[in-house]
Structure formats: structure tokens, C-alpha cells
């Protein structure tokens, strides 16, 4: 099992945001978690990646069979968990090449592999850039600094392709994208899909799911998964909205 979430409850202040989440993600599976704003989607992404915004009151998360709560954000990343941010922050003055080389080599060091030298790294990034329709000039720019919404998301997927995670959490990757950018980002994601890699796609709207077909769709309302189904559930949601699920 790639990811196992059991009875996860957590709160921010007095408010219980996640009220007992259960989820099993196998290698090669793509899961979509859909819900309205405030349903707890992003909190779930944060808890998996290790951001300490919410207090965990009960439950466990196992990643490849190991307790995630024992590991720091950095360690989780090094062991193959990747979060594509809804709002990626800018790091002025630090270009993408330098940033990504740091990240890639941190992971390689952790795994006991040789660090990539500049030439090999450049070769690798040159192979990945076309997958998200970017050219070489892009990687000379400072990380997310002055990027458009579409550039930010493409940069996230570029990092995913370079870091080669086993589990990718995509938090609202489709938000703020026009149709062209959505296609580009979707193609990037699809190029990485394989029988070993897993995705958890967190989204408000089903439109990304037209391009990246999920194996399972979960609907999150008020911190609970109220319904689970196949890709057709997303279609249903598009026609009927969320209200029919709220009782």
C-alpha cells in the first residue's frame, strides 16, 4: 500500500476540520478528492506533507507502511512524497535551476546516490521542460517570482517530473488555469502516471479529471468522505453539484 489513512481527525483551534478520514491508495492509483472550499481538502494535503497548521487529535497515516507522523516534512519529501502547492511562494533571487538542483541532489544524497553534476542535471531538465511546454529560458528565472498563475502550476509539475516522487499530492492544481494551461498541466501529469506512482488529486471542480482519469473519486464534505466511486462520480457531480450529497 502506498498510503493508508485511518480515522484521521484534526482541528484548527476549536474547529474540527477533518472528522475521521479513511483512505487507501495503492501504487499506480490516481485518487481524486473533491469538495467545496472549506471542506478540509487542503488541510488533508498539509497534514500528509507535514505542515503543522492543524492539530491532529487521532488517527494514523502510513506511507509505504511507515508512520508518517514520525517524520519531518523534509524527510517525507526525501522519501518520495511531493506536494504541488495551491499557492506556490516566490523565492526572489533564487533561480529554478539552482533550487531544483539543490532539491534533486538532497534527495539523491538521502538515497545514497551520487549527486548530479551540472551538465547531467541540465540534460535531465531539458528533457522534462517540453512535457510542460516550457523552454530553457524558464529555468533561469527566480522561483515563482512574478510568475503568472499558469507558470506557477507548470513549475510545480516540472518539479514533480524532476523529483520523481512515489506519491504526488496535487492541491488545486487546476485552479486559476485557462483551458490551454489546464491541458499542458494535465499532459505533464499524465506523462508521469505509471503502475508504480500514485496521485492524490485535490480539486474543487471536475475539469482536471476530464484529462487525468482517476481510478477513484472521493467526495469530502465537512471533513468527512461522504461518497466514494469511480470516474463517473465526478461526472455526476458536474451535473448535480454538491448539494444533493448534503443531508
Amino acid at each position: 500500500m502506498m498510503l493508508t489513512i485511518k480515522n484521521l481527525k484534526c482541528s484548527i483551534g476549536e474547529k474540527e476540520i477533518l472528522q475521521g478520514i479513511n483512505l487507501d491508495v495503492r501504487p499506480g492509483e490516481v485518487h481524486a478528492i473533491m469538495g467545496r472550499n472549506g471542506s478540509g481538502k487542503s488541510t488533508l494535503a498539509n497534514v500528509i506533507s507535514g505542515k503543522e497548521t492543524a492539530e491532529i487529535s487521532s488517527g494514523t497515516i502510513l506511507y509505504k507502511g511507515e508512520d508518517l507522523f514520525e517524520k519531518s516534512t523534509e524527510q517525507r519529501a526525501l522519501e518520495g512524497i511531493f506536494l504541488s502547492f495551491q499557492y506556490p511562494v516566490a523565492i526572489p533571487g533564487v533561480n529554478i535551476t539552482y533550487f531544483l538542483k539543490e532539491a534533486v541532489n538532497a534527495k539523491r544524497r538521502y538515497l545514497g546516490q551520487n549527486e548530479l553534476d551540472a551538465a547531467t542535471f541540465l540534460q535531465k531538465i531539458k528533457e522534462k521542460l517540453p512535457l510542460v511546454d516550457l523552454d530553457i529560458s524558464f529555468i533561469k528565472r527566480a522561483v515563482n517570482d512574478g510568475f503568472s498563475g499558469g507558470e506557477k502550476k507548470r513549475n510545480e509539475i516540472l518539479q514533480l517530473l524532476m523529483l520523481e516522487p512515489d506519491l504526488a499530492i496535487l492541491d488545486e492544481t487546476d485552479s486559476g488555469l485557462d483551458i490551454d494551461a489546464l491541458k499542458i498541466v494535465s499532459n505533464g501529469i499524465k506523462s508521469y502516471r505509471s503502475s508504480e506512482k500514485s496521485f492524490v488529486i485535490i480539486t474543487h471542480y471536475p475539469r482536471l479529471l476530464h484529462y487525468v482519469k482517476p481510478d477513484k473519486v472521493h467526495i469530502l464534505i465537512n471533513g468527512k468522505i461522504v461518497k466514494t466511486g469511480g470516474p463517473d462520480l465526478a461526472e455526476l457531480l458536474e451535473q448535480k453539484g454538491y448539494s444533493w450529497l448534503e443531508s
Binding site: K51, E74, V89, V94, A103, A106, A142
Partner: protein
């Protein structure tokens, strides 16, 4: 880059690594300042009468002056009678070559990473090393001489080129300029001297390393650089000191003179001992640096990376006298623990079409205070002058302070002035973003800070840029988490 990364990694686990003391026979005076001390210094250096009188006049002026109190610096009063004004490694005889230099002294410079051995000097940097008060050796002298370039210790210049020294000393920073400049003028013991003849482009970076070793010693060096018409020189200055519990005073004067079409680039990596994490010890750094663009189309550029010293009081300035002349100031000042820095620049526009650029980056961590203080003055006849100033501050943690005091004085209506300033915290979001990509907190902070300083580091000569990066890493240690 991976090699420099290795160097950086090695440095991360270290505190101030230049804190060793060299056990060497010193020729020192007892603490205290008087006319006799000045006469002693002057005699030791076999100086001509005019220079002794120049010093004595400075001393008289100094006695009538009081310490400047306007800077945003808090410290206990300095007892000027408790400072040693002359300390020199004991020389057994006149040195003919590097082989004759005290091996312990050479060992010190090796520890500092300064390759004095000309054979090993592939980097093409000519080094003048000032140990406490005395210049120990100048490398690459012959090669430079073939271009007519003079690069030697100040004391040597007084002997070999007295006419040049006499003409220019005090011409940019007069003895009356300020308390510390007056003190330096009275007691300066050595420093570097550079003369670039007309039309010569200096073929290598010239470099001086300053080292305070002896206890209770003040260091009062003086640097004078003269660039004749159409010449170019890039000069680098680095400095370190042992870790000692008491504060030590450093009061230097640097004067730059750029003639018509001349270009002087002056870079500093200042790493004097900053004191320990409780604010004990460290160097008091009161320095007057000024250049004059004397004639048209000349250019002076200051780049500084300030990570050291308990106190920094330093405003490298440019007087833009010649028409179409250019002044630049690029600065990174990093303070941690209890360090205090009050630093910036002055750009005085006198000539027509003169332009100046100021880029200042302040990084404060721990309980430190970091102040930018800058003045831009456009005089009445400075038609069509321009200034661009950008002052950015970044705060690490919640107990430090960043302060900005820009003074603008415009007396000509054609002037164009631009000023931008920002202050920001290193965001938790930025750190989390890096963490999520597998980059550790410590590396994330140095990444973010280096990105913040990039515009300034880009102005440093290559080898210095690597050193500056290293220094930032060391200085940032323990500032997070």
C-alpha cells in the same frame, strides 16, 4: 559549483574559524596615546618630518574632537588610553624573499587561506598582508612593476614615493573629517598603497588581507589608491581577527582618487570577529572610506559584504566632482546575535550629468540591529544628475531590528531621484516550500538569503563571491530553529 558547495558544507558546522592567536614575538608599545607615541611610530617607520608633523597636527585636532554619537549603536565608552597603538611582528632582519618571513606568520596566513607563496598563486591575485600594524609581504610586485603599477605597503610608499603620498594623503578624507579619521591620521601604522599609471589596466586583482593578532591592539591602517587618467583597478580587501573577550578597535581610512576616465572597483569582505553569542568581545569597526571622481567620466564602485565586527560604523562614499562621473555602492550587511551595524553610503553630486546607484541589503538575525544610513546630495551645479537607491531588509526571527535612514538633499531642480525600500521576514511559507522539496531548514535559509543578496554578490569578483557565500552560511548559523 559542487566544489564550492563542499567548502560551504564544511563551514556550516563551524563557529568563527579565524579566532586563533598566533604566538609570535611582537614588538609592542604599552597602551596609551601621547605625542611621544606618535613620534615613536613615526621614528620606527623612519618617516620624513612633514609626515610626523602631519600626524602631530592630526593628534591636536583629534584631542579637540568628540566621538560621533548619532549612529544607532549602543556600546560602553572606549578608553583610548587603554589601547596599544603599535604592535608589529619582531623582524630579525630585512626580508629579501618569502623564505625569510617568519614561518609562523606564513602559517597564520595559510590558516586564513591566503596563498602568499607566489608559486601557488594561480588565481592571479596580488596580496598585501597587513599583520597587526605592519605590512608583511607584497606578492607579485615584479610583474606589477613591469606595468608601472605601484602596489606596496603604505610605509614603503612613504619611503619610495613620498611625493605621491604627500600629494594625496588626506586629500579625500581630511584629518578634520571626523573623530576616527583624525585618530587614524595621528597613529596609522601601515596599510596599502596603489598607484596605477595613465592608461594602464591593472592585469590582476589587487588584494589586501588585514589581520589583528596582538591583544588590546588597535588597528589603524590607511589605504590610498590613485588611478591616473584612463586606468582601471580592482582592489579586494579582507579581514579577520582572533576571538578575544575584550573589544578591539579598528579605525581605518581608505582614500580613492580617480582621474579622468579612470575606474576603481573596491570590494570588501569584512569578517572581523563579531563577538560571541552573548555579545562578549568583538571588533569595534569605525572606518572612513571615501573616493573622489576627480575628473570627467571617472567611476568609483564600492562593494561590501559585512558579516563581522561587534559594531560597524562605515559609510563608503563617493564625491562625484568630475562631469559624467559615476558612483556605485553595493552592500550586504549581515548581523547576528548581538552585532550592531550602522552602515551605508554618501553620494555627493557636484559635476554635471553625474549618476549614482545604491543597492543595500541588510539581513538581521538573533538580537542584532542593522541600520542603513545613506545620504544623496545633489549640489547646485550638478545639472541632470541621477540617483537610484534601493534598500532592502530581511529579518530572521522576532528579536532583531532593521532600520533605514535615507537622507536626500537636492539643490538642483533637474535631478532625478528614485528610492525604493522593502522590509520582509523570511516566511515560514518559503521554508516549508523548500522543506517539502527535501531542502533542510538551514539550507533553505541560506538559499533564501543568498537569493536576497544576489544583486550584490553578482558585483563581487569571482573568488570573493564564493567567499561571501561561505561567510553568509557561517554567520547565519544558529539563527533559525
Amino acid at each position: 559549483m559542487s566544489q564550492s558547495r563542499e567548502i560551504i558544507d564544511k563551514k556550516i558546522d563551524q563557529d568563527y574559524q579565524y579566532g586563533f592567536v598566533t604566538d609570535i614575538e611582537q614588538d609592542t608599545l604599552p597602551p596609551g596615546l601621547s605625542e611621544d607615541v606618535i613620534r615613536f611610530i613615526s621614528k620606527k617607520k623612519n618617516e620624513p618630518d612633514w609626515l610626523l608633523n602631519w600626524r602631530l597636527k592630526a593628534y591636536k585636532l583629534w584631542k579637540q574632537m568628540s566621538e560621533p554619537k548619532w549612529a544607532k549603536l549602543k556600546y560602553n565608552p572606549i578608553d583610548f588610553q587603554d589601547i596599544i597603538y603599535y604592535a608589529a611582528p619582531k623582524k630579525k632582519k630585512e626580508l629579501k624573499s618569502l623564505d625569510e618571513v617568519d614561518p609562523q606568520l606564513l602559517d597564520t596566513y595559510n590558516k586564513l587561506g591566503i596563498p602568499l607563496d607566489e608559486q601557488k598563486m594561480l588565481a592571479g591575485v596580488a596580496v598585501d598582508a597587513v599583520f597587526d600594524s605592519v605590512s608583511v609581504t607584497t606578492t607579485f610586485k615584479k610583474e606589477l612593476a613591469s606595468h608601472g603599477i605601484i602596489f606596496c605597503s603604505f610605509s614603503e610608499a612613504v619611503q619610495s614615493h613620498p611625493e605621491l603620498v604627500r600629494k594625496y594623503i588626506g586629500s579625500v578624507v581630511p584629518r578634520t573629517d571626523n573623530f576616527y579619521a583624525a585618530l587614524n591620521s595621528a597613529v596609522f601604522s601601515d596599510g596599502s598603497f596603489v598607484y596605477i599609471p595613465k592608461g594602464v589596466r591593472c592585469p590582476m586583482e589587487l588584494s589586501t588581507y588585514f589581520r589583528i593578532n596582538a591583544a588590546k591592539t588597535g588597528q589603524f591602517e590607511r589605504t590610498l589608491i590613485i588611478a591616473e587618467e584612463g586606468s582601471y583597478v580592482s582592489y579586494l580587501e579582507g579581514c579577520t581577527a582572533p576571538m578575544r573577550d575584550e573589544n578591539q578597535l579598528h579605525a581605518a581610512v581608505v582614500e580613492l582618487v580617480a582621474h579622468k576616465d579612470a575606474n576603481i572597483k573596491y570590494s570588501t569582505v569584512q569578517n572581523w570577529y563579531p563577538g560571541d553569542e552573548n555579545g562578549k568581545g568583538g571588533i569595534y569597526n569605525f572606518v572612513t572610506k571615501r573616493g573622489i571622481c576627480l575628473e570627467q567620466n571617472s567611476k568609483i564602485s564600492w562593494t561590501q559584504v559585512e558579516t563581522g565586527s561587534a559594531l560597524t560604523w562605515k559609510y563608503p562614499s563617493v564625491i562625484l566632482k568630475g562631469d559624467n562621473s559615476t558612483g556605485e555602492f553595493y552592500s550586504v550587511a549581515m548581523t547576528n546575535n548581538y552585532q550592531q551595524a550602522d552602515t551605508g553610503t554618501k553620494m555627493i553630486h557636484i559635476g554635471k550629468n553625474t549618476s549614482s546607484t545604491i543597492i543595500s541589503k541588510g539581513i538581521s538575525a538573533g538580537k542584532s540591529h542593522n541600520t542603513y544610513r545613506g545620504e544623496v546630495k545633489i549640489m547646485k551645479n550638478a545639472e541632470n544628475s541621477r540617483n537610484y537607491s534601493q534598500c532592502d531588509s530581511i529579518l530572521i526571527g522576532s528579536e532583531c531590528g532593521a532600520h533605514t535612514f535615507p537622507y536626500i538633499d537636492v539643490r538642483n531642480p533637474t535631478a532625478q531621484m528614485e528610492h525604493e525600500a522593502t522590509t520582509s521576514n523570511i516566511g515560514e511559507d518559503q521554508i516549508f516550500y523548500c522543506n517539502q522539496r527535501g531542502i533542510s531548514e538551514e539550507n533553505a535559509v541560506s538559499l533564501i538569503v543568498n537569493g536576497f543578496c544576489k544583486d550584490v554578490f553578482a558585483k563581487l569578483p569571482m573568488e570573493f563571491a564564493v567567499e561571501a557565500n561561505k561567510l553568509m552560511e557561517v554567520s547565519l548559523e544558529g539563527s533559525v530553529g
